[in-house]
């Protein structure tokens, strides 16, 4: 049967060749690193393929589809997380292997090209990290690619290069499709070539050892060495799964937002370059981004050849040089990590970014509108209220510079300044000037000096019951002024529900009160029959009205109404049940934060343990990476 197959396909012979290959000096855990690279590469390709079945590379869909993978599809977070962390694992294993080759001197003849293939794989993997990082099109990817493209632009002819890579003058759809094509089609092919180089050339060198004139003794690869390889692979797999689970997979930040202030950091394997750049400002920057990486990279590539010259001295010189590079890289990484940990603004901004991410991902579960990306925030209740406001209120009530000036402005609605200005001149256009409500006389500084005005306003703030902090003594003075000296209550009653000539001041300006006005502003204890504002009681739902009221009140930063609202018309009008009911359930007019929490599933990735965002250009300078293994977590069965 096997012969039958072999005659037709040669498969069995191929297996024989593979299995019977003689490993010099017998099976050993020391030889497992190339096998681990093969494992990681294959696994990455399978995981990448799985992700590709759910991912859409367009500026509008990339984030939404990634959030879908992360938070909605079963096991999506794990697959994405594993794919993310395996890149780190791959870099660690490559560094370990480079270290092994250098320290044991195995990079010398005839293995120079094993060394170079490994370096090539390091470069390819780092670029895979950079391009992959962009794909979710979250703040992280967006800001990282900006920096990377910026570095690219500094190279000679970089302007054109940037336009080509980014697909235009700005990042967008074409950037993503390009990154995707490179990440999913080009780089994997290169990575396969490099890993094949490592394995095939490594075996070739081993054959030379076991078949030369003075052959080393050895043993067949299968099964002894393969078992060793599998032990190494299983250890790495266990570590990877552990890291993935304990970090809840990979982080996903809020959708790419050009107006955000995200502080992008590169992935940990770019930190040395990132930190190096800090020491070279302005025109000197290319020294850090190109010159030093280029020189160091060149030295590393040529190391085996340099070591072959000048006997022992040369060998130790090169080893020392490589050690120095490694130590430098480790030191720069450590400095960078320490700096961020000590940097309050960075820590704070990351906190904020994570909160934004949580909100965005919560909203995404309701489905993202086709505008995509930051449009996920359209699902924010606050946003919906704003839309409602624009539709029904803004024509007359100006807000923050938008809208008509037909009725009182809602910019900073009823904060102390707003109130003072109103009392000074209620007939100004931005208050009641354009309305038919004109019964109140202005109080100029003579009639009401500033300090007294302040007291009256304080009293009115207290009366509103909006829960703002009130200076009680001042309010007490204000009360005296309001009731006795100025006789304001001749028109503005302060007992709940009583109607005077003007609006009752009890609860005036609180959310329930505003809700009553929205329903029907012409009630006798409100603005009476002079009020021409449409009655919204029939046009909007109760929820919409109380949302709008909260929205308006929130213009002055009042977010809750802990104090009971005015009793509705005991004598005024008994017909509206409104005003109070919905308060208190939602603590904030923009109560988004609360609902967003997507705590249910594995969602909120916060794998802080590996740095994020690639800040630094990948290609040109990635060679500059350190060869010997710096000692980060997990997989160092290597040594």
């Amino acid at each position: 049967m096997w012969d039958w197959l072999d005659e037709r396909t040669g498969l069995v012979s191929i297996w024989r060749g593979f299995a019977d290959h003689v490993v010099p000096r017998g099976p050993s855990l020391k030889g497992v690193l190339p096998a681990i690279l093969v494992y990681l590469l294959v696994q990455q390709m399978v995981l990448g393929l799985l992700l590709a079945t759910h991912y859409a590379p367009s500026a509008t869909d990339a984030w939404a589809s990634t959030a879908y993978i992360q938070d909605r599809v079963s096991a999506g977070w794990f697959i994405r997380g594993l794919h993310h962390h395996a890149t780190s694992a791959m870099i660690l294993v490559i560094l370990a292997y480079l270290g092994q080759l250098a320290i044991t001197g195995a990079f010398a003849k005839p293995r120079e090209f094993v060394w170079i293939s490994t370096l090539g794989l390091l470069l390819v993997t780092m670029v895979l990290g950079v391009t992959g990082n962009v794909l979710p099109w979250d703040d992280q990817g967006y800001w990282a690619i900006q920096v990377e493209l910026g570095i690219m632009e500094q190279t000679p002819g970089g302007g054109m290069l940037r336009t080509v890579v980014q697909g235009g003058n700005d990042v967008g759809n074409l950037t993503l499709t390009r990154m995707y094509a490179i990440h999913a089609l080009v780089l994997p092919a290169l990575a396969i070539a490099m890993v094949a180089g490592i394995v095939v050339l490594g075996r070739r060198a081993q054959r030379a050892e076991t078949s030369g004139p003075r052959p080393h003794p050895g043993v067949a690869f299968f099964p002894s060495q393969m078992l060793m390889d599998m032990i190494g692979i299983v250890l790495v797999a266990v570590a990877l799964v552990g890291v993935t689970v304990s970090t809840n997979g990979s982080e996903l930040f809020a959708p790419a937002d050009p107006t955000s202030t995200f502080q992008a950091r590169p992935e940990w394997y770019f930190l040395p370059l990132f930190q190096l750049r800090m020491y070279f400002e302005g025109p000197l920057e290319p020294i850090a981004t190109m010159l030093i990486p280029g020189l160091v990279g060149g030295f590393i590539v040529l190391a085996p050849f340099l070591a072959a010259r000048g006997g022992n001295l040369g060998r130790f010189g090169v080893l020392g040089g490589l050690g120095l590079v490694a130590a430098g890289a480790v030191a720069l990484t450590a400095i960078s990590i320490q700096k961020d940990a000590d940097n309050e603004s960075y820590v704070e901004s990351m906190d904020k970014a994570r909160k934004d991410a949580e909100r965005a991902r919560g909203f995404a579960k309701e489905g993202v509108v086709p505008e995509g990306g930051p449009a996920v925030f359209y699902n924010d209740p606050d946003y919906k209220v704003r839309k409602l406001y624009e539709e029904h209120c803004q024509t007359c009530h100006e807000l923050d510079g938008f809208g008509g000036v037909e009725a009182p402005t809602f910019t900073n609605y009823r904060d102390r300044t707003w109130m003072s200005e109103l009392i000074r001149n209620p007939n100004e256009d931005k208050f009641f000037g354009k309305t038919e409500i004109d019964d109140m006389d202005p109080y100029d500084a003579e009639a009401l000096p500033d300090d007294k005005l302040e007291a009256v306003v304080e009293y009115l703030v207290q009366l509103s019951g909006s829960g703002e902090e009130v200076d009680a003594t001042l309010a007490e003075q204000g009360k005296a002024l309001f009731i006795d000296e100025l006789d304001c209550n001749g028109c503005h009653e302060v007992e709940p529900g009583v109607d005077g000539g003007g609006p009752n001041m009890h609860g005036h300006g609180s959310a329930p009160w505003v809700a009553r006005v929205i329903r029907d502003s012409a009630q006798p204890d409100l603005y009476g029959s002079d009020a021409k504002m449409p009655k919204f009681a029939d046009k909007l739902t109760d929820d919409e009205i109380s949302d709008l009221a909260r929205f308006v009140v929130a213009r002055r930063g009042v977010t809750a109404d802990p104090v009971p609202p005015p009793v509705e018309g005991e004598k005024a009008k008994g017909d509206e049940p409104e005003a109070d009911a919905p308060e208190g359930e939602e603590p904030e007019a923009d109560g988004a934060e609360g609902d967003a929490a997507d705590g249910d599933d594995e969602g909120a990735g916060d794998g802080e343990d590996d740095g994020k965002a690639d800040d630094v250009d990948a290609d040109a300078d990635a060679k500059a990476e350190d060869p010997p293994p710096p000692p980060p977590p997990a997989d160092d069965e290597a040594g």
Binding site: D20, H21, V22, R25, G26, P27, S28, L29, Y39, Q43, V46, L47, L50, T53, H54, D61, A64, S65, A67, Y68, R72, V73, S74, A75, G76, F78, I79, L82, P217, G218, V219, A220, F222, P223, S224, M226, L227, M228, M230, I231, I233, V234, A237, L240, V241, A364, E366, G367, V368, V369, P370
Partner: protein
């Protein structure tokens, strides 16, 4: 480790030990592959367990009774909000129906052919419906008269309120004798 100076094929080891090693390798391979393939199975079959697209179950406004109640079928496009995996799209075409009056009743027939899902057309001259893909014919009641269609055209629920006609749009399994919603 067990350095041996042996023939390349490793046959010098005793068969029992060799079998053990092979078993170990097999187990390790399975475990490592399982790390990816287990979640992969769950990941790929997710749509079997959780709906990824959904239209509206509600009645969708289709037009006015006056316009639609004729015995010549009118094709009505139905618009509704739709969830499509990660997207929520508002007011998009979800499908269409042939609407006509039969014996004083307003009837809506899905344009989706019960055979393999092509769009059913109407032939004015012959006064019959036809599916152009594999030549299924239906009469004005939607009855399959000729061709491969396993059942009659799928009737959709119609609701008439005063002058307003609304239709509940549904899709049905294709190629089966029975009309079952999917």
């Amino acid at each position: 480790m067990t350095a041996q100076s042996d023939s390349p094929s490793g046959t010098a080891e005793d068969p029992g030990r060799r079998r053990l090693l092979v078993l170990g390798i097999g187990g390790a391979c399975t475990a490592v592959a399982g790390v990816t393939l287990g979640p992969a199975a769950s990941f790929l079959t997710h749509p079997v367990r959780v709906p990824t697209t959904s239209g509206s179950d509600a009645f969708i406004p289709a037009g006015s009774l006056q316009q639609l109640s004729t015995d010549t079928p009118t094709k009505v496009d139905l618009y509704a909000d739709k969830v499509d995996a990660w997207n929520r799209v508002e007011h998009v075409k979800v499908g269409s129906a042939w609407v006509l009056e039969r014996e004083g009743q307003l009837v809506a027939l899905s344009t989706v052919c019960p055979h393999l899902g092509c769009a059913i057309d109407y032939q004015t001259e012959e006064k019959r419906f036809v599916c152009p893909c594999h030549d299924s014919f239906f009469d004005l009641d939607g009855k399959a008269t000729e061709g491969p269609s396993p059942r009659d055209m799928d009737a959709l629920e119609v609701q008439v309120e005063q002058d307003a006609v609304a239709i509940r749009y549904q899709r049905f399994k294709q190629g089966t004798d029975a009309k079952e919603p999917v």
